[in-house]
């Protein structure tokens, strides 16, 4: 799990120096940090060093906020779902059917990155890792995201089908998690649910537009839903971890009914049947992933791994 070659202090630090490579940042932070106390002239230039140290130690909720091992694992599941989906959505920027859609999918991805940052930050505190450590320095089997989120973008209808399922699931999840006995999870969820509400409305509007549009758009919407639906079930599997987090985690099996109730009226209005077919066995929560996650992580992590500690 650990990556001993990493110097955590370095990624925590964002210096003013815009450098191309890690070496410059490391040296700069290391040589200047001890001077801060007595060198007021330099203080201005390296003010950010202190700031970001603070940000990473005290954030999100007031009071102590280090998760237990089990809560940290649960936060990792949810954080990974959002992170992986955000990475997929980012691809659409400049490629969506219209400019407004570039912006919409980019904004949705940005919200998801925000949720992932909060969740991974909270998760990492338990093992003394930052959100960046978790995002950039774990390997594929260490990711805990469900298979739905790593499914390829496909054509636009596939992406909308994935968004439709994901946003409805996340909305029902966060609505309930806002009442969690864990104050930090509750705070993250209460914030996220308001944003996800916009995401699910966005997805519903597109499902209707595509399904009730042309013959071509309808065929694609049906195909997209059919291809993504097999990954719905994994979201409702109660893993053993959930038994240990009664009152803290939301029991996934309890979300099946509400998620369906939220999606059914949209499908009905769109004149679409619930897709039938095979059900994916999943395994994301145990680190068993499809062939899609590896390349996604490679692209997401390459910069951080090539230039450890780089900042801009």
């Amino acid at each position: 799990m650990s990556t001993p070659s990493r110097t955590d202090a370095v990624t925590d630090v964002v210096t003013d120096v815009v450098t191309d490579a890690a070496g410059g940042v490391v040296t700069d932070a290391a040589t200047h940090a001890p001077d801060r106390g007595h060198d007021h002239g330099e203080n201005e230039g390296h003010g950010h060093v202190e700031v970001d140290g603070v940000e990473l130690s005290a954030e999100l909720v007031e009071g102590p906020s280090v998760a237990s091992h089990d809560v940290a694992e649960y936060a990792l599941w949810l954080g990974d779902d959002s992170l992986v989906l955000a990475q997929q959505l980012g691809w659409w920027i400049s490629r969506a059917p219209e400019l407004e859609e570039d912006i919409a999918l980019g904004n949705i991805a940005l919200d998801l990155i925000g949720h992932a940052r909060s969740l991974l930050h909270y998760s990492g505190a338990e093992s003394d890792r930052t959100e960046d450590d978790l995002a950039y320095w774990r390997t594929e089997p260490e990711f805990r995201s469900a298979h739905l989120f790593e499914q390829p973008n496909g054509d636009f209808a596939h992406t909308i089908a994935r968004q439709f399922i994901a946003a409805n699931y996340l909305f029902e999840l966060y609505s309930r998690l806002a009442g969690s006995a864990d104050a930090t999870l509750a705070a993250i969820a209460a914030k996220a649910v308001k944003e996800v509400d916009y995401h699910r409305d966005h997805a519903a509007q597109w499902v209707l537009r595509l399904a009730l549009g042309t013959e071509e758009s309808r065929a694609r919407m049906i195909c997209g839903l059919g291809d993504l639906w097999p990954f719905l079930d994994e979201l409702f599997v109660d893993e053993p971890l959930i038994d240990r987090l009664e009152g803290v985690a939301v029991r996934p099996s309890t979300l099946r009914g509400p998620a369906w109730d939220a999606m059914a009226p949209v499908l009905r209005e769109a004149g679409l049947d619930e897709p039938r077919g095979f059900i994916s066995s999943g395994g994301g929560r145990r680190g068993d992933h499809s062939e899609n996650l590896g390349p996604l992580l490679a692209e997401m992590q390459v910069l951080a791994r090539s230039h450890p500690g780089a900042s801009w």
């Binding site: 005290a58 999100l60 949720h115 509750a186 944003e195 916009y198």
Partner: protein, 175 residues
């Protein structure tokens, strides 16, 4: 959680903290420079305890990139005024809502050309049918407007168009 006026702009009671609050309250949103963080309801507390000053901010949206600029600006302003030991913390709870935006702030938004949030944030659980109040064009005050895109130039805004003066404009979404 009951978002209301009492949590929107909780100016501290003691004089030392008030002085620091008034300084921090001048910091503006980098994306919408007519609004201060106090107008937005993003400034949540300022406490001066001896030589130590703690400022608490809350993000508007989870992924809002402007937060870091606001945090840096608060530090710059307070340090410039002689506060050496300043900490800025971010809190998520209770979650920020457009209900916390000041009336002054809303008026400034409109003058700047951005329609202010209409109505209050939703009561949960929301009903089956979404209702959107008409959004008034900040240029000609017409209510004959329509949404072009729910996701606009920043997380907090949607893009609208006025059907009377035909100008597009930003609308600060209710959250």
């Amino acid at each position: 959680m009951a978002p209301g006026a009492s949590v929107a702009r909780p100016r501290p009671a003691d004089l030392a903290s008030q002085r620091a609050w008034d300084l921090a309250a001048r910091v503006c949103d980098p994306e919408i420079p007519v609004l201060t963080i106090e107008d937005l309801g993003v400034l949540r507390s300022v406490t001066v305890d001896g030589t130590r000053t703690t400022v608490t901010l809350t993000p508007t949206y989870s992924g809002c990139p402007a937060m870091e600029a606001m945090r840096d600006d608060v530090l710059t302003v307070l340090r410039g005024a002689g506060y050496d030991d300043v900490t800025v913390e971010l809190v998520l709870a209770p979650a920020w809502t457009t209900d916390w935006m000041s009336e002054e702030g809303k008026a400034k938004l409109v003058t700047y050309g951005i329609a202010a949030p209409t109505g209050r944030s939703g009561v949960r659980p929301a009903g089956a049918v979404r209702l959107q109040l008409a959004v008034k064009c900040p240029r000609c005050s017409s209510l004959n407007t329509r949404e072009l895109a729910r996701f606009g130039s920043t997380s907090c805004k949607a893009l609208y168009e006025c059907r009377d003066c035909l100008e597009p404009f930003d609308y600060f979404k209710v959250l």
